[in-house]
């Protein structure tokens, strides 16, 4: 067998497959593109509306309520620093990307996680799929996404969405399944309906696990959004990618600092939300 011959035939076959998909699924992909970029633009518009010091102040206030004064001051100053180094638009669009992708992932993952937690049969189908998604390097998801959705934020969002989905789904399902046996008995012995069992007993016990899932999805999304800079996601990821290509080390380090600041603020906020839910149920 002639290897180069086979390899070019294989390439052609893949090419043909993808163009068949994008021809025949055009409506679907256009719709996906419209939803993804629509939500993203909405979120971005909201975040970009106030000047940088107002948004920094709002985030500082949220941090003050959720964590404490020291965190609030540090977070506020750090965000102002992002603006001073000239990366505010990029920081905001990265924030918008992360929030949009995480939000969409949670909207899908939490209900599916609940179903998987309640129906073991469904869980047995979903589990290997999630294994597959999580085993592959996140980079891989950019390729089909760019083939089907083109260059731009929608592709970044789709890949980020896929990567952010599994943790929230897994931990929601786990939380729903892990209701202690004697509380199920308590519910049954008290004569609860199926819905009451879910909302009054299963869900409160699952809450810490679900919140941990939300936090993990957020962090996965962050990692992916930065990688997605190479498909034109915009934001800090693209800044880094561009700076690295032109060997502009200073600019790439600036962008990296902004990413670290944003990640730490979001992680702390999400963790404190998870912890306050847990504290409630202890």
């Amino acid at each position: 067998m002639n290897t180069p011959d086979f390899s070019s035939q294989f390439d052609e076959a893949i090419d043909a497959g993808l163009s068949w998909l994008s021809d025949h699924g055009e409506v679907l992909f256009d719709a996906a593109n419209a939803v993804l970029s629509g939500v993203y633009k909405g979120v971005l518009w909201c975040l970009a509306l106030p000047p940088y010091y107002v948004l920094a102040l709002i985030i500082a206030l949220i941090g003050w309520r959720a964590i404490g004064a020291r965190f609030a001051v540090i977070a506020g100053l750090a965000l102002v620093f992002c603006a001073l180094i000239g990366l505010w638009p990029e920081t905001v669009s990265t924030l918008a990307l992360v929030l949009t992708a995480t939000l969409l992932a949670l909207v899908v993952a939490i209900p599916l996680g609940v179903v998987a937690g309640l129906a073991p049969a469904f869980d047995r189908v979903v589990d290997p799929c999630l294994d597959l998604v999580q085993t592959m390097p996140p980079y891989i998801y950019l390729l089909p996404a760019i083939a089907l959705l083109g260059y731009g934020p929608a592709t970044a969002l789709l890949a980020t969405f896929i990567v952010a989905l599994p943790p929230a789904l897994r931990l929601t399902s786990l939380g729903i399944r892990m209701t202690p046996r004697h509380f199920i008995e308590l519910g049954e012995a008290s004569g609860v309906t199926g819905l009451q069992m879910f909302f009054k007993i299963r869900l409160p016990f699952a809450m810490p696990s679900i919140m941990a899932g939300v936090n993990q999805s957020l962090m996965m999304a962050f990692g992916m959004v930065v990688i997605a800079g190479i498909v034109g996601s915009g934001g800090l990821g693209e800044s880094i990618y561009g700076a690295v290509r032109t060997l502009d080390i200073a600019k790439s380090i600036n962008a990296a600092i902004a990413i670290v600041i944003l990640t730490m603020i979001l992680d702390r906020l999400a963790q404190s939300a998870a912890r306050s839910r847990m504290g409630e149920s202890q």
């Binding site: 308590l186 004569g191 309906t193």
Partner: protein, 372 residues
């Protein structure tokens, strides 16, 4: 006390030849039991199924505290879960207030569980994200009772168990004994006729445990509730139960009052159990007294009318006290103004040993009524 008004003969829970077999081929194993009468170990060998409860029949009457005593693995926890159909029996019927649980649809079954049969768990199972008050009102909440009303009822129940000060606390702030009191308050808030108690006090330390046992018995009697009380501790069963059922290997081997079981154990297993139990407060005058005629024959000179008088329900401890005060060596047992028997020191010693009087043995065995 309201106990006088209620009809103590009404059967609230009626368990008829109930079996529970666990395992994949449970229905086949159940068939084999019915048709070939296989034993527990044969079932395990041939069908790899475990017999949890084997051919149990029992009746719990209104106002009665019915204890089921057995060691771990005897099937008592399975049995109590059959009574509110948390576990579905493999064979046999469970009737609650005359209604066969297996004939009810899910909504009717919920109704029975919500209104007629309450349950208290060994693990207490207080929802950690709710306050004591919210936990106590849980039963009414799922029935759709409004907030103000259910909290009012729950507060009354908490007052009954002495926890009025703790309504706004979270379960984690309470000691084990207090948590179990909340469990009890939660069960009585829904005002069921029967309360199922699944080893509620087993995890508590001995002093708190005795205190809760007494409180539980008093409260149950005061409210006129029936209770099925599971325990692995015979002392506890004797302290609380009007009647006691002893369970072994999924079957009930004896049912009776504490006195009855101590004086007339059904087999060696029960006898071994009761061997260490003090008879002083258990054995009553009527079980050990000598009938009047044989006493007169043996002591022709004794004037019965001048003996210190006592009642058939007086326990050995009380009788010893009276005998010490008496100048003569005998007490007269009076029932409805008639002398029904004589207690001699010999009778007392026999009582301490737990051997019924040869004359009274037949009488004691028939005393199965709850002595509320």
């Amino acid at each position: 006390m309201t106990t006088a008004k209620i009809d103590t003969n009404e059967v609230l829970v009626d368990c008829q030849n109930v079996w529970k077999i666990f395992g994949k081929s449970a229905p086949a194993a159940m068939n084999a039991v019915v048709q070939q009468g296989l034993t527990k170990s044969q079932i395990l060998q041939d069908y790899s199924c475990v017999v949890g409860v084997s051919d149990v029949s029992l009746q719990v009457r209104r106002g009665e505290i019915f204890c089921i005593m057995g060691l771990s693995g005897s099937g008592k926890s399975t049995l109590i879960r059959l009574l509110n159909k948390l576990i579905t029996p493999s064979s046999g019927k469970v009737l609650v207030k005359g209604k066969d649980l297996s004939s009810l649809n899910p909504a009717q079954l919920r109704e029975v569980r919500a209104r007629h049969i309450g349950m208290v768990f060994q693990s207490v199972a207080l929802l950690p994200n709710r306050t004591v008050l919210e936990n106590t009102a849980f039963g009414l909440e799922v029935q759709g009772v409004g907030k103000a009303e259910r909290y009012q009822v729950a507060e009354r129940a908490l007052a009954k168990v002495g926890l009025s000060e703790w309504t706004q606390r979270y379960p984690s702030e309470l000691s084990g004994g207090m948590q179990q009191r909340v469990g009890l308050a939660r069960a009585i808030t829904a005002d069921p006729e029967v309360i199922l108690m699944d080893e509620p006090f087993s995890a508590l330390d001995p002093l708190i445990r005795r205190q809760l046992q007494d409180e539980f018995r008093q409260l149950t009697k005061e409210l006129g509730k029936s209770a099925v009380f599971i325990t692995h501790d015979l002392d506890e069963a004797i302290r609380i139960g009007d009647r006691i059922a002893i369970m072994k290997d999924g079957a009930i081997i004896q049912v009776g009052t504490a006195e009855d079981i101590v004086l007339n154990p059904a087999d060696d297993y029960v006898a071994e159990f009761v061997a260490g139990i003090s008879r002083l407060h258990l054995v009553k005058a009527h079980s050990v007294m000598t009938p009047v005629e044989p006493f007169k024959a043996a002591n022709p000179t004794c004037d019965i009318s001048r003996l210190i008088k006592t009642t058939p329900g007086a326990d050995i401890n009380e009788l010893i006290g009276l005998t010490m005060k008496s100048e003569r060596d005998a007490l007269a047992v009076i029932d409805n103004g008639n002398v029904v028997g004589i207690i001699t020191p010999r009778d007392l010693l026999r009582g301490v040993q737990g051997i019924p009087n040869e004359f009274a043995a037949a009488g004691a065995a028939t005393v199965l009524e709850p002595s509320a």
